[in-house]
Symmetry: D2
Subunit: 310 residues, 4 copies
C-alpha cells in the first residue's frame, strides 16, 4: 500500500508530529559551537515534498536551521557532477564504523577517508571544489538555492565564523590529510569553505525540496534540469544509506530503511526513490550526534507508509 495523494501525507505528518510531541524530551543540543548551543531545543518541523510537486508539513517548517553535515551531500553532488569517478582515488565509499571526526581510520588507511560524508572525506570534497570552481563558496550557495527553489537560502556567517574559530579537530584532520598528500589547497582556504558549507541555513521545507532530485534519478522535478546521471544519483543514494549517519548508519538503515543524511543542527533529510523526499528537524541529539525525534519521526513515517526501499 503506497500513499501518494497530498492529503494522505498531510495526515501522516500530523499523526507523527502528535506522537513525537507526546514523548518526554531526551538528548541535548550540540554545544561545541556557541551559535548552535543557543538554539531552542524543543522546536520541531517535518516536511514531505513529492515528485508531483506536493508539499506537506507539520510544525515550524519555515524556520531555518543550520544544516551542518547535511551539506556534505550537496557538496559531494557538485563534485560528482563534474568529476564522477575521479574523486574515488582520494576518498572511499565504505562505512567507517567510527565517529564522524575520528582520526584512527585515517591513519590506518594512510590518509584516504572512508567516505565523503564523514568530516575527513568532506574536507577532501571541499579541496576538490576549490579546484573545480572559481568561486566555490558562491557556486555552492547558488547550487543549493537552485535545488531548494529558494533564493533566500544563505550562509549563517555567525555560525560559519564560530565554527571556523573552533575547528581544531577539523584542522587536525585537514593537516593530517595534507601530510599524506591528500589535500592540495591551503588548509585555511579549505576550512573556510568547509565551515561555510556547514553553516548553510535552510528551512525544513527548503531542505526537503533541495534533495528531491535524488528521488528523481538526478533531475530537479520542477525545472527538469539534470544534476546527476541516473547512475550517479543512485550511487549517491547508496552512499547516504551506508554512510549517512556515522556509526549509527546501520541502525538507521535497519530502523528507517531510506537513504538520508543527518546534521548536528538536528536536521535529517531522506529520499524515497521515485516518490518523495522528507526533511525533519528537532535539535536534541542522541549520543551519535543524530536528532532523536528526527530518527523517531522517520521510523514512524516508513512504518505508517510502508515506503522503505527494502
Amino acid at each position: 500500500m503506497r500513499l501518494q495523494k497530498r492529503s494522505d501525507y498531510d495526515a501522516v505528518l500530523k499523526e507523527i508530529a502528535g506522537r513525537v510531541g507526546r514523548l518526554a524530551p531526551t538528548g541535548a543540543v550540540a554545544d561545541y559551537i556557541p551559535a548552535l548551543a543557543r538554539v531552542n531545543p524543543d522546536q520541531y518541523a517535518v516536511c514531505v515534498q513529492t515528485l508531483e510537486g506536493g508539499t506537506c508539513t507539520a510544525g515550524a517548517a519555515d524556520t531555518r536551521f543550520s544544516i551542518q553535515s547535511i551539506s556534505k551531500v550537496f557538496a559531494t553532488a557538485m563534485v560528482i557532477a563534474k568529476k564522477d569517478i575521479l574523486l574515488w582515488s582520494r576518498v572511499g565509499v565504505e562505512p567507517s564504523g567510527n565517529a564522524f571526526n575520528s582520526l584512527v581510520q585515517l591513519e590506518y588507511e594512510h590518509g584516504i577517508p572512508r567516505n565523503p560524508l564523514i568530516n575527513a572525506g568532506a574536507i577532501v570534497v571541499s579541496d576538490e571544489l576549490l579546484e573545480l570552481y572559481e568561486d566555490p563558496k558562491k557556486t555552492l550557495l547558488h547550487f543549493v538555492r537552485e535545488l531548494a527553489g529558494d533564493e533566500s537560502v544563505d550562509y549563517d556567517t555567525e555560525v560559519a565564523d564560530s565554527e571556523y574559530a573552533t575547528a581544531s579537530t577539523n584542522r587536525a584532520l585537514a593537516y593530517y590529510l595534507k601530510s599524506h598528500g591528500n589535500l592540495r589547497n591551503d588548509v585555511e582556504a579549505v576550512l573556510d569553505l568547509y565551515c561555510h558549507q556547514c553553516a548553510l541555513a535552510l528551512s525544513t521545507k527548503a531542505l526537503a525540496r533541495a534533495l528531491l532530485f535524488q528521488a528523481n534519478d538526478g533531475i530537479i522535478p520542477s525545472s527538469r534540469r539534470r544534476i546527476l546521471t541516473e547512475d550517479q544519483s543512485k550511487r549517491l543514494n547508496s552512499i547516504m544509506l551506508t554512510c549517512g549517519f556515522y556509526d549509527q548508519a546501520g541502525e538507521f538503515a535497519y530502523q528507517v530503511g531510506l537513504p538520508g543524511k543527518s546534521g548536528v543542527g538536528g536536521g535529517i533529510v531522506a529520499v524515497v526513490p521515485d516518490v518523495l523526499s522528507i526533511a525533519v528537524w528537532s535539535p536534541r541529539l542522541n549520543e551519535h550526534g543524530n536528532s532523536v525525534l528526527g530518527i523517531e519521526s522517520l521510523q514512524q513515517f516508513t512504518s505508517l507508509t510502508g515506503l522503505a526501499i527494502f
Copy 2:
C-alpha cells in the same frame, strides 16, 4: 524501465555470461580449506528467480557449491523468526569496516559483534540456534530445503569436517565471545553447528530460490508460507545491504545497489524487493573474499535492468 517477462531476464543473463566470459581470469579460489581449494576456479553460473515463478539461468546453474557465509542470512532469519529484537542485545546491526574475521572490533566493543553477517556475529547466531531448537542442525537443513524448494539440499560433510578441523580463527572468536559472557553453549557444539551451516551445498538455482522470500516481504512465493513479518524482512534486507560484503559492503551498495550476501565459495545472492532474487557463482575471489565475476555480473545486471533499489 523494468523488465519482467521471463524471456527478458534470459536475454540479460546470456548477455552477462557472454561479457564476463570474455574477461581475463583474475583472483584466486579460497584456499584455507582443502576441500574448497580443489574446486575448478573457472566455473560460472547465474540464475534469476522471479516472484511470478520464472527461472532464468546461464552457465552451470545446477552445479552445487559451498555457500559458506551466505548461510549466515538463513541462520539469522531463523533466529529473527523466533526472537526478533532480543538478538540485538548480543549482536549489533552496524557495518564493521573490518575484515570478516577481525578480533579488533570485538575487543573495543567488549564482545558484542557488529552484526550477524560477520563471523563473530554468526557464531552468536549459532549459539542462539542451539537454544531455540532441539536439533538445530536438522532444523536449519529442513529450513533451507523448504526455502530452496529442493529436498536434495544437504551439508557437504567433507567441507564441514575440514572447516571444523582448521577453524582456529573462529575458535579464537568463539572463546573471546565466551570470555565476555556472549556465548552460552559449549564452544565446540557451537562451532560444529557453525561449520555445518557454512558447508551447505546449493546450486545457483536453489540458492536464488532460497532467498526469494526476502524479495517478497518475508513470504515464500510458492507455498505462501510467511517466514518473517514484512518489517523483519525489510530489516534483514537492510542488514544485507550494509553488512553483506565485509569491508566491501559500501562498494557493493555503490556499484550494484542491492541487498545481498557473498560467501568464500564464490557465491553471491541478492534480491530486488518486490521483483526477484538473483544468485551468481564463480570461485575466483578478490582481496575482500568476494567473487570477482559475481560482483561484475551483478553490476552488469543492475546496469542493464535498472533494478537497483536506489
Copy 3:
C-alpha cells in the same frame, strides 16, 4: 649511599611495612578465578635476598601465594637458556602499551606477540617448552625449586584446574596464534602447561630467592650454577623493565626504577643488579592488575635505599 648489611635492610623493610600498614586499603583481589578470589585481601609480606646470602623479611614472608604471571620470567629463562635468539622470530621484545590480555596488537602484528611477558607471548613460550623438554611441567617445577632453593615449591592444582576451566580469553589468544601458524602444539596441551605455570605457589621468601640469579649475571649465588650467560641475563632484565607491568610498565620504571614482574596473585619481584632481589606480596590490585601495596613498597624501597638502576 648503598646499604648492604643485613641489619640495614631489616630496618628498611620494617619501616616500609609500617608505612604501608597505615594506609587505608584500596584495590580489590583478582576475582576471575574462584580460588584466587577467596584469598584474604589484607595479607602482606616483603623479603630481600642479598647476593651475600642475607635474608631480610617483614610480614608473612613464609606464606605461599599464587605467583601467576611472575612465572613468565622463569619460563622465558628456561627457553632462553636453551634457544636464546631463536625465540625472537616468534615473539618480540617491545612493550605493548596494552592490557595483558589484549588481542588487538596480535591482529595488527599478524600473530607475533609483542613480548614474552604478556599472555600471548607467554603462551608461545609454553609452546616452545613443550618442544624443548620431554616433561616440561615437571622440568619447570624442578627448575623453580632449584632457583628458590626450596623443594616444597609446588603447583597449586586447584588454582591450575580453576584457571584451565575458565581460560576463555587465553584460549582465544592461543587459537588466534594457531591461526597465524605461531602455535605448533595442541592448544589444550599448551594451556595445561601455561595454567600450571601460573599456579606455582611460592612464599615471598622463596620468590625473592628464585629471581636472585638475575641480580647475579645469570648465576645462582648459593650453588654457583650458571642459568643464563651474562648477556642473556642482562637482556631478560631489560625485558622485565620495559614489559613487566603491562600498561603500567613505564610508570613502574619511572616510580621504582628496577627490572621486575608482577602477577595478579598480588606478588611482585624485582632485582637490583649486582646487589639483591626483593619480593613483595599484597593481594589488592590496582586497575592495571598490579599490587597496590607491592608497588608502593618497592617505591619506598628505592627511595629509602637509592638502589634504582638509573
Copy 4:
C-alpha cells in the same frame, strides 16, 4: 670489569669505529626535510664524556648535525626542573608501542600523549615552556649551551624554517591536542618553538657533554650546578629507557641496555649512570627512524665494556 681510564675508552671507540666502518652501508638519510636530505650519509662520529672530565672520540666528533628529537630530552628537563609532577596530568610516562607521529593512541586516550619523547608529548612540553619562560626559545638555547659547555651551539634556522613549513603531521597533532583542551597557546607559536628546538645543531662532542648531567644524578659535573634533583634525574633516565626509541625502545633496551634518545638527524645519546655519557652520529636510519650505525656502535660499546645498567 669496568674501564674507566681515558685511554681505555679511546681504544674502545677506535675499535668500534673500525668495526662499523667495515660494514656495508644500509639505511637512508631522513628525507622529509630538504635540509636534512642533503646531508652526506656516510659521516660518522662517536664521543664519550666521563664524569671525571675525560673526552674520548673517534670520527668527525666536532662536526655539527641536527639533533632533532634528541632535543626532547632537554626540553623535558627544563619543564621538570620547574614543575616536576604537574606535567604528568597532560602527558604520560608509558611507552607508546607506536611510531613517533601516530595519532591513533592520542584518539584512544583522549588527547593525553603517552610520553614526552614522542612528537605529541613533546608538543605539549613546548606548550608548557611557552608558559614557564618569557622567551623560551632563547632560554632553551642558553640551557643547552650551558649543558654542552659550548657557547657556539645554535639553532640551524634553515632546518627550523624548513621543518616549520612542512610540519603538516605535527600541526595535525597540535590541533588534535587543542581540540582536547591539551594545548593552551597558539598552535603556530608552539610549533615555531618546537621546530627550533628540533633544529638545534650540536657536534657529537657537545651532545655527549650536554647529557652528562643525567649520568651525574642531575648535576653538571664541570660547574657543579644542579639541574634536576636526584629523583627527577633518575626518572628522566627511566623515561629515556622505556620511550627513547619509539617503537624500537624495547629492542634498544634489550640490545644496548642504556637510557638514551635518538633523532632522525642520525644522532643518538645515552648515559651510563655514575660513569659517563656517549653520543654517536651517523645519518643513515633504519625503518624505525633510528641511526643504523649509531645503534650498532652502542651495542658494541656495552658489549666491550660491560657497562649496561642491567
